[in-house]
């Protein structure tokens, strides 16, 4: 019997935790709700002015993003919180699985569950656009990829919050990070002109510490078929990986010190 390497252990963990996540009823409920919501775009299309199937595209991309967020919060955060409180980690850590393995495995499994959700939603959006006589594939792929990058960063934060707070607080903090991530850019611009120094300082700190999730938002370009450079995708990927890695390293430190 020989111990496995780190990659294999993480992979094994990721596979089993992924199965754990997507078999959860919450995943199925969320998927169902998201499908119904996107299908409603068929009605909204009739009431909206713009290019053909604009509502399907707008609604589809928004639901894709929010649905991924919900998978992350309600499944991912929930699962890891449960592991910590139910002591199911004893079963794992008594085996040749380090805390770092577990953290990475959790992260990858959450991303895999998010990816599964994105695939389901993308298929639905593609089908709906196809039914309305427009083959819209490139945009969906781009949107899915950028959403994955966004969730990569957010899931790293979510894991960090789970380690330092209760499950409900961790969910709330993750949601708050999402909100701040999408508003901090605009807030920084607005506050530049302000004379309110404490607020200015707070916004500056938040801008420095929290990720700018709006950076991954290219919905207008995707909906209108405007070109997005390959450089941007590379930049976004590097940004997401770097941020996630940083947060995961901090989380590993926290988990290493945590009493189970």
């Amino acid at each position: 019997m020989k111990a496995n390497g780190m990659f294999k252990q993480t992979r094994l963990l990721e596979m089993i935790m992924f199965r754990e996540l997507i078999r959860d009823k919450i995943f199925i409920s969320l998927s169902g709700a998201a499908v119904v919501l996107v299908a409603a775009s068929l009605i909204l299309n009739e009431m909206v002015v713009g290019q053909e199937i604009k509502a399907t595209k707008d609604l589809g991309l928004s639901v894709l993003n929010v649905f991924s967020l919900f998978i992350l919060i309600f499944l991912g955060v929930n699962q890891v919180s449960r592991d910590l409180t139910n002591k199911s980690l004893y079963f794992l850590f008594s085996r040749p699985i380090s805390r770092a393995h577990y953290l990475l495995g959790s992260w990858f499994s959450i991303l895999a569950a998010v990816a599964a959700g994105i695939l389901v939603m993308s298929a639905v959006i593609f089908l709906l656009s196809f039914l309305q006589q427009e083959v819209w594939l490139g945009g969906i792929i781009a949107a899915g990829f950028l959403t994955m990058l966004e969730m990569m960063v957010l899931s790293a934060f979510a894991l960090f919050f789970v380690l330092i707070a209760s499950p409900q607080l961790a969910m709330f903090l993750t949601l708050l990070t999402y909100v701040i991530g999408h508003t901090i850019e605009k807030a920084a611009v607005i506050i530049e002109q302000s004379a309110n120094l404490p607020l200015k300082y707070l916004i500056t700190v938040l801008d420095a510490v929290l990720p700018n999730l709006e950076f991954f938002n290219k919905k207008p370009e995707i909906v209108y078929g405007l070109p997005i450079s390959a450089d941007f995708f590379l930049h976004a990927t590097l940004y997401a990986f770097a941020y996630a890695l940083l947060v995961l390293l901090v989380s590993m430190r926290v988990l290493a010190k945590k009493e189970l």
Binding site: K87, Y90, R95, L260
Partner: protein, 287 residues
């Protein structure tokens, strides 16, 4: 005979609500190969802490003693040779019993062996429920799957925390059989329990922990040499315990008690009485 476990001056301190709790206060012991060590102790004695340290779930703090397993202080490198059953085990809920054992096998560095998994499932009487998700398992079934995942990779050292917990008599019999089978294979077993009968029936050695300290660490053979009789009696004033060192003294004491008009509650022989003295009154309350 080589030592499987060597512990010297091991301490563990928890910080809770700004207070320090000394869970282990510099304990030291050794476990030889093929030993079946029973760990006794009341709640809060430090049994679970000790088992968590032994299995690598927790790491000992620097300067707080040494802990060596299977010849190394780096427990992470030998975890695949240890099997652990936690108390009231919890697992991934949406995974089937079969999938759980596949994971347990593979993560311990073993190739997926379906026949072996089936064999173990039959051994723990969960073969028919192999496709069932763990969330649908009863407490006893979870205990059994816990045992299964602990032994699936045929570890050299088996550590069981309250293995009989939640099991019906056939289940308890099953665990006993497993422990005995493992002992025959030359493996080393540690298990914690509250049940003195289990200690007497299964163990080669016993360790009594109380408030983070080892009160007793002896082989059962040694305990049996000095075995006495424990007599418990009561009268209007209360309960009394007396120990007779041999049968002659036992009969004398019994007659004395009868003459005094006291009522005999219990006469216990073997090592149990010896252990109870260390266990204290808590043993009675718990049973």
């Amino acid at each position: 005979m080589e030592n499987v476990i060597e512990v010297n001056g091991l301490c563990k301190v928890y910080k809770k609500n700004f207070r320090k709790i000394h869970a282990l206060k510099g304990i030291g012991f050794t476990v030889r190969k093929n030993m079946i060590l029973g760990i006794l102790g009341p709640n809060g004695a430090g049994k679970t802490t000790l088992l968590k340290l032994l299995t690598g779930i927790m790491a000992p703090e620097r300067g707080m003693g040494t802990l060596a397993l299977l010849g190394t202080e780096d427990i992470a490198t030998v975890k695949h040779r240890i099997g652990f059953l936690p108390e009231n085990p919890e697992f991934f809920r949406n995974i089937s019993a079969y999938e759980l054992l596949v994971f347990a096998q593979r993560v311990s560095g073993i190739q997926h062996d379906r026949e072996k998994i089936y064999r173990v499932l039959r051994q723990v009487r969960l073969f028919d429920e192999r496709r069932e998700r763990v969330r649908n398992f009863s407490k006893g079934m979870r205990q059994r799957i816990g045992i299964a995942q602990a032994i699936i990779h045929e570890p050299e050292l088996l550590i069981l925390d309250e293995p009989m917990s939640g099991l019906d008599p056939p289940g308890r019999r099953m665990v006993t059989d497993i422990i005995e089978d493992y002992a025959k294979l030359g493996r080393t077993i540690l298990f914690s329990t509250h049940d003195l009968d289990d200690i007497e029936a299964l163990c080669t050695d016993v360790m009594v922990l109380k408030e983070g300290e080892i009160l007793l660490e002896k082989s059962l053979a040694q305990l049996r040499l000095g075995s006495r009789f424990l007599i418990q009696a009561e009268n209007r004033e209360g309960k009394f315990s007396q120990v007779a060192k041999d049968t002659e003294e036992l009969w004398r004491m019994l007659e004395n008690i009868r003459n005094k008009g006291m009522r005999i509650i219990k006469v216990q022989s073997g090592i149990a009485d010896h252990l109870e003295l260390f266990y204290g009154q808590e043993t009675d309350d718990e049973s």
